[in-house]
Structures are given as structure tokens and as C-alpha cells.
């Protein structure tokens, strides 16, 4: 589904990703872990197409397409979803209007019929339950005045409605108490399917108790320095990041093989 090959990217003159290679197949959950500043969030933003980041070399193919050629909205229309680490507040646009616009734009791009507000409401009512959110939040402005936990739940709610094929969760666990974490994780787990894939970007292992990954990759200085199964996350939890040999050395990615 996703093939990242020797990806280099950064902001301005500062290179942050220094050769990422990673393959993700349908049905898989990959955890990308690493210390602060290792490039985890940059990877997530680059995959979603944030224009603030510049890709300097390497390739990313998504279902056979050159992903880097596509505008962010086209990536979303093709099934990529990024749950933001810091969801953006948009005063003056209601959650319902925002999400229906997004939903319908994606439907339109895929040659499907758009839903009217009432049909859409039926759809979202069911998805709200998934993340234990009140219907009242639909009429509130997007993320405005939301607590940290509400913002993260709102991201998962959007993901549930938009039903992406490749979901990238960027530090979705940060700032969540244990109950909120469980709700968010359950939401993600319910959306797992053999057709979809998930990349979970996280600093801490605890989210992975709830969203059990198939593969764990350790990112350091913009490279994947170690890859393994879910037990790698536990080892990181027990031993920290320091034991990983030569964080500065070019690591070889051993992501899943197609």
C-alpha cells in the first residue's frame, strides 16, 4: 500500500528526515517510535502533504501512485488521513459543516453521491458513539475551546466518518488520561480491517497496549535505526531509547516485506 524509499525532507535548510525506507501493507499496524526530535511528526506531516515541509529526495508510492506529486486534498480523497498531534482550531466553522464538506468532497472525488445534511447526521450519530462524544459538539466550531482530550477524540471521530484506507495517528496519545486513551484506542481498533493500514506515531509505549502493532520502528535522527515486532515496544518501554546502538549511525530499515 505504502512504499517509502530513502525519503529525505526538512524545513528550509534544516534536513529532518535523512533517508526513511518503510513499507506498509493493507491490514497492518505500524508503530513509529523514537525520542523527541527524531522526525516522527515530520514523517507524518510529509505523508499528509504539509506544504511547509520540503522533500529533497527519495520516493513515496501509495497504491502504485507517486504520493509526493499529489496535493494534500487529493491524498485525503485517495484515502490518507492524518490525525494531528495539534488539531487546528477553526472559529466560525461548525464541526458538522466542516466534516460534511470533507466527506462530500471525498465522495465527489470518488464519483459517489454527496449526502445531504440529514443523511449525514444519521451517519455521524453512529460514529459519535464510537468515541463517546456528545452530539452537541457537532454544532461547535471546529476544535475551538475543546479540551486536549476532546480534540484528540474529534480527530478519531473524523477518521471514523471519513473511513480512510491509510490512517496516520500522530502522537494521538499525548495529553490523554487513561480513560480517554482507552476510548481513542477502542475507536481506532474498531476501524481496523484487512483492507486498511495504520501508522501509529508515538513517543510512549502505553498506547500500544491498546492498539497492538504488527511492526515497531525506532526513528532516530531522521532514520529508522531499528525495526521489530510488538515486543520491541516493550523493550523500549523497559530500557528507554539509549540502549539502541549508535543512534547517529545510518540504520537499515527492515519494515515489513511485501
Amino acid at each position: 500500500m505504502l512504499e517509502i524509499n530513502d525519503l529525505h525532507a526538512g524545513i528550509g535548510d534544516r534536513e529532518i528526515l535523512r533517508g526513511i525506507t518503510l513499507n506498509v501493507n493493507a491490514g497492518e499496524v505500524h508503530a513509529v517510535m523514537g525520542p523527541n526530535g527524531s522526525g516522527k511528526s515530520t514523517l507524518a506531516q510529509v505523508l499528509a502533504g504539509n506544504p511547509s515541509y520540503e522533500v529533497t529526495s527519495g520516493t513515496v508510492r501509495y497504491n502504485g501512485q507517486d504520493l509526493l506529486e499529489l496535493d494534500p486534498e487529493v491524498r485525503a480523497q485517495n484515502g490518507i488521513f492524518l490525525a494531528f498531534q495539534y488539531p487546528v482550531e477553526i472559529p466560525g466553522v461548525s464541526n458538522a459543516y466542516f466534516l460534511r464538506s470533507a466527506y462530500n468532497e471525498i465522495r465527489k472525488a470518488n464519483g459517489q453521491e454527496e449526502l445531504d445534511p440529514l443523511e449525514f447526521l444519521d451517519l455521524v450519530e453512529e460514529k459519535l458513539k464510537l468515541v463517546d462524544m456528545d452530539q452537541a459538539m457537532l454544532s461547535r466550531s471546529v476544535n475551538q475551546g475543546f479540551s486536549g482530550g476532546e480534540k484528540k477524540r474529534n480527530e478519531i471521530f473524523q477518521m471514523a466518518v471519513l473511513a480512510p484506507r491509510l490512517a496516520i495517528l500522530d502522537e494521538t496519545d499525548s495529553g490523554l488520561d487513561i480513560d480517554a486513551l482507552r476510548i481513542v484506542a477502542e475507536g481506532v481498533n474498531k476501524l481496523r480491517s484487512p483492507e486498511n493500514a495504520t501508522i501509529v506515531v508515538t513517543h510512549y509505549q502505553r498506547l500500544l497496549n491498546y492498539i497492538v502493532p504488527d511492526f515497531v520502528h525506532v526513528l532516530a535522527n531522521g532514520r529508522i535505526v531499528k525495526s521489530g515486532g510488538k515486543e520491541l515496544a516493550l523493550e523500549l518501554e523497559a530500557r528507554g531509547y539509549d540502549w539502541i546502538p549508535s543512534l547517529t549511525e545510518a540504520g537499515t530499515s527492515v519494515g515489513s516485506t511485501a
Binding site: A48, G49, N50, P51, S52, D71, P72, E73, R75, A76, Q77, F81, L82, F84, P87, V88, E89, I90, P91, G92, V93, F98, L99, S101, A102, Y103, E105, I106, A109, S141, Q158, L162
Partner: protein, 489 residues
Amino acid sequence: MSEIATDVVTREGSGVNDLVTRDAAKGSRKTTTTRAPSSIEVYREDFSMQKAGPAWLNQLRAKAIERFEALGFPTTKNEDWHFTSVAPIAERSFRSAIIDADSITAEGSDRRESSRRRSDAVNALGVKPADVASFSFGQNDWHQLVFINGLFDRALSSIDGLNGKLRIDSLARAIEDGSPSVEIHLGRIAAFDQHAFTALNTAFVADGAFIELANDAVVEKPIHLVFVSGGEGVSQPRNLIVAGRHSRVTVIESYVSLRESPYFTNAVTEIAVGEGAHVDHYKLQRENQSAFHVGTVQARQARNSTLHSFSFAVGGALARTNIYTSLDGDAATCTLNGLYLTDGTQHIDNQTSIEHLAPNCPSHEVYKGVLDGRSHGVFNGKVYVHPEAQKTDGKQSNNNLLLSPHARVDTKPQLEIFADDVKCTHGATVGRLDEMAMFYLNSRGIGAETARTLLTYAFAADVIETIELAPLKAELEKIVLARFADSPT
């Protein structure tokens, strides 16, 4: 060189077209001058051709034209006009769109010229009920007064269900009838000693809307004043709203055009808000992009009264709106909100003034501007807190969104406080669309165009939200969405 001119004239109040035949005047004053008259001289000339009114009105007009001549048009040296040059208005000779036929004949002005002007003044604009309906927010049961180039058109208007507690009429008729309220209030609220455009309007007081509410009168249906203008002259509607004790009314003023033309509207509205009365006032300036517009709304509020004002400005090549109120009695409240959308080479200026003259008065103000193209927006908001105005609670903000690198805005919130126990805040911002918000929307599948429209709309939405009149709110939402959905950048 005598000739017979035949003109079709709609007389105010008759509701039918009269066929009027008159002797043409002989000669022309233009033959006696060797240079083109200045615009101020042209105003003086048209002033002298006006039909005389009652003595008090003639005196008021005379004082006003003298004051106008003494002040002249403001220049950018004038602090209130620092960011707005009115040269395009001052350098043009806009002939008065309402010159009474009798006066023209008596004064002996150029016949062809005057007949052309007169046919402008009557419904030669060809305004049909359907044209007006397009500006009526889908409402056909509101009171609606239609003015063509400033002249009341009874045939296009609909006023019903009046009773002894409410009068809605043309100002011309109220003057004719000798309504005491007119003489008491006209020219007493909108001061013209320092305001040249108000002086000019006052010199030409002839027609407009007159709305009078007796004590405790509550008008359920909104009153919509529609000013349709065209041609290349000046129309100077004058409106007077007198709201008695504990009365309640909603008035909307719409300034509209049916086609492109470089006319000048110079409107003044005076509002006397009685004790405990509540006035909702909306001004919608939607003139065509070649028009010139100066509109002043000036209110005086008695104790415990409320004024909610919303000013929407989207039209005109050069437009200025003044919303002024004085909080003249204990616990009077005002909310002055506004939205201006500029594009192309438009220049739209908004000035507000809130005079806190009494204690315990809250005043809230939010103005927003969205500026595109090479347009220029101006906001100048003054809040004066006089020494006796203790416990004043004043909040003022002005936020601007620049959609183009060539658009410009000058904002000047001013707070002057002479009392010591007050709570006042003010602030202004100028910004561009938030890139992170753009990316957030894009990342959800929403394309760049739609995202830009949505964010621009959202910027304007919270001030539109303050509009209580649902059909008006819906109309403004539609205008804003349509405006930015087509934005090329």
C-alpha cells in the same frame, strides 16, 4: 429661444404619474460665467433651486449650506479623513437628483439639463417591483419604503397595519403635515458644525423616511428602507427615527443599484432612542462599484435604551459609513457591529463614534474587514468616556483579513477616557489566512479553493452571527459565500 418641455413626473404622495407641461426657462446662467463652476458652487446653485419648505426648515437648510461652504470638503489633513481622500467626490459636480420642478422654472436654469435631471429623479430608472423584491431578503410582509434617487416612491412601497402608535411615512409628507417631531428632532441629533457631508445633506433635506413610535409601541414587522439609485447625480436622503419611551423597532436601510453608474449618495439618518426603547438598526451598503457613498447614522440614546447597529459595506468605488451614537442617559446600551468586504480598487471607510456621557453604560463593538485585490479598507473607531460616565464598560475590536498582497487596511481604534472608574478594552488585528488551518482542511480532502472560501467565510461569520434578524443573516451569509467562492486568488 422659448420652447415647451413635456415631462413625466411622479409626484410624491400622488401614487400616479402626472403629465406636467411647463414653460421652459429663458437663457442660462452658464453664459455669464467663463470658468466651470466648482462643485461647491454647483451645490449652491442647486440649493437655491430647491422648493421652499416651512420657515424652520428653510432656516436649517440655509445654516447648513453656509456651514458646508465654510467647511468645504474634508481633506486628508482632517484627522477624521486621514486615510480617505474624498477628491473623487469633491472634484465632480453631481447635480441634485431632486430639484423640484417649480424651483427649476423659477430659477431659470438650463431647460434640457433640468428636464434630464428631473426624469432621473422620477422612476426613469425603470425600477420595477421585481427589482426591489430582489433586495427584500425573501420577505414580502415587512413594511417597505422604496426611494428612487432619494425620492419616496409610494407605488413601489408597502406600508400597512399602522395605528395611532406608529407612523411610517416619507419625510417629505411629514414636513408638509407639520409633524411636530420633525421640527423638534431634525438636525438636532446629526450635528453638522464639523461634518461637511452632514451639513451638505442638511442643506438639501427634502425626502427620506420618517418613523415615529409612540411610547410603548412595539413594531413587530421590520421596516425596510430601500434606496435605489442610478444616473450620475447626487441623492441625499434624510431619515428620522423617533422611538418613544419603551418602544421597540427594527429598521433596515439598504442602498442598492440596478446597474453600474457613478452617482453619489449622501445619506443621513437621525435616531432618537427614548427611555427604555430598543432600536435595531441595519445599514446595508450595496451600491454599484462605480458609485460614491457617504452615509451617516447618528443616534442619541436616553437612559436604559438599547441600540443595536450593524453596518455592512460591500459596494461603491469610494464609500464611507459613519455610525455615531451618544449614550446620553444612565445605563444606555449600544452594540455597533460591522462587516466590510472590499475588492478591486474599492475604498471603503468605516467610522464609528461612541460618546459615553452618562454612567453605567456598556458599549460593545466588533468590526471585521475582508480585503482583496488592490482595495483599501479603513476603520476608525472612537470611544469617548466623559468624566461623568463612571462604570463604563467598553469593548471594541477590529479584525482584518487580507486576501491579496496588494490590499491595504488602515485601522485606528481610539479610546479616550476622562472618568476613573471604567473598564474599557480595544484592539485591532490585520492578518492573512492561517496556513495551518488551510492545511488542516486540505488534509481532510477539502480543496484549496473551498478551504479558502470556508476560512474567509468563517472569519466573517462570527460578526454575521450577531445579527438577530434571521432573513438578513441568511442573506449576508449568502453574499459572503458568493463573494469568496469566486475569488480568483
